[in-house]
């Protein structure tokens, strides 16, 4: 158990470090890379509690998908010489203070809840995940699954319309 604790503190420390770096750096691509590190470290936490499938999803969707998309977007629009403006010190102070107050509020609220340690969690099999995703009853996720699919479809169509908007219009005029 000692080893897990040491790994937890290493992961947590690195995560805090990269989160802070991600919002303080003046180069936008480095901010994206630090964000990527935070997402990879979060997958590390899932591995630590033994939920390997969620860790795999975190790595594929967030680190491999979202972070890569952010980086591609930056690649398209940003020059390497470009810098964001430096944030003034007094802004650091009051924003940091607000954050700290929020963290204290969060922690005091959370600590009132009696958390239980779950020992010996069973492994989740692929068929379990598949069945749960398509179950309507208790513990089933078919409604959220479908709602998210429809939302993503709508977003994709909207993106196509926005990027090809002019072409659609000219076709109508003809």
């Amino acid at each position: 158990m000692m080893g897990a604790k040491i790994i937890f503190y290493i992961l947590a420390g690195l995560m805090i470090l990269f989160s802070i770096l991600s919002v303080t750096t003046t180069r936008v691509i480095r901010a994206a890379v630090y964000l990527l590190f935070v997402m990879i470290l979060l997958a590390g936490f899932y591995f630590l509690v033994g939920y390997n499938f969620l860790a795999g999803v975190q790595l594929t969707v967030y680190s491999g998908g979202i972070a890569v998309l952010i980086v591609i977007a930056i690649l398209l629009v940003h020059n390497i010489e470009h810098r964001l403006e430096q944030i003034p010190t007094f802004e650091y102070l009051w924003k940091g203070g607000t954050l700290l107050a929020g963290a204290i509020l969060f922690l005091t609220t959370m600590r009132q809840f009696p958390f239980e340690r779950i020992v010996g969690t069973e492994q989740v099999s692929v068929s379990d995940i598949g069945v749960k995703l398509l179950t309507l009853g208790e513990g089933g996720f078919v409604l959220p699954f479908e709602v998210v699919s429809v939302l993503l479809l709508a977003v994709m169509i909207a993106a196509i319309i926005i990027s090809k908007g002019e072409k659609f219009k000219t076709e109508d005029n003809d």
């Binding site: 795999g56 890569v68 690649l75 398209l76 068929s127």
Partner: protein
Amino acid sequence: MYDFTGLIQGINKWLHSILPAVAADVVGWILIAAAFLGLFAILGLVLVLAERKIAAFFQLRLGPNRIGPWGIFQTVADAIKLLLKEPVGTNRADSFLYNLAPYFVIIAALMSMSVLPFAKGLHAYDIDIGVFFVIAMSSLGVMGILLGGWASNNKYALLGAMRSGAQMISYELSVGLSILTIVLLSGSLRMSDIVASQSDYWFIFKGHIPAWIAFMIFIIAGTAETNRTPFDLTEAESELGAGFHTEYSGLKFAFFFLSEFVNMFIIAAMGAILFFGGWMPLHIGGWDGFNHVMDFIPPIFWFFGKVSFLIFLIMWFRWTFPRLRIDQLLTLEWKYLLPMNLANILLMAFIVLMGWHL
């Protein structure tokens, strides 16, 4: 040669007998890491030599033939040259990302190699999401190429990186879906389960035609994932110089180069594990005498034999097909492979549901 379980457990016991428990574990981890790094380097040397020899074979040349008998030490000499080279970088590059990018690629390759079963009992980490872990790691590898291309501050490198982003993100879908077709048959993502459930028939025979279609899509998309000809738009020597690694030299270039070859090995190994039974000898359900004869060939030879065959197939592609244009590349993926793949998954699900597989 037949079962490595005893050997690995013997080493583990011996370490525990001479060291305290924690130290023995740590030494064990270091030994495993060293073994993988050694395999990584050897694979690089052997595969580069194989590529050059096979290229020569297809073009009616001799290939490397000066250093050592039949030129087999050529790649060793090349490796020493790369190690000794002066690292030349550009002045106006983003030095942090420029230096970081090769490690992304090489760490992703190493981590996906760590979950492969090489033979019975020779398996570093039998994680329960094995196949999915390899997909996750390969999607991280893209990051190294994107960052390397951008941080070089070179327009050819940037073009290469943009092409690779579009290419690898698209073809990841096909690799994932064709793997999913096989997961339908095995019912598990764990590598050892996948190999074990092929002890009567390999999945490519078990799944009838959908398995063959899935294999073809997997090998096409796998070639694209590793950025090899005919999908090597990221490098495209004749158009972009050297693509995303134009500005890299010496050891950092060697990292990109090495991980490209190791990625090819990983794709071939995944193909062998998913479709050809991994280290499982050729077994046919019911033919006990035949199965017994096949068991005499050690599993590790079966595994590396299948992997070498698939690597030869991928190298054969390289000297047979011309390079695709970027629009042809994306059309192939989104208009042909993806719809075929989705229909194929439905077909396979139907076959598994009706119990028609062998």
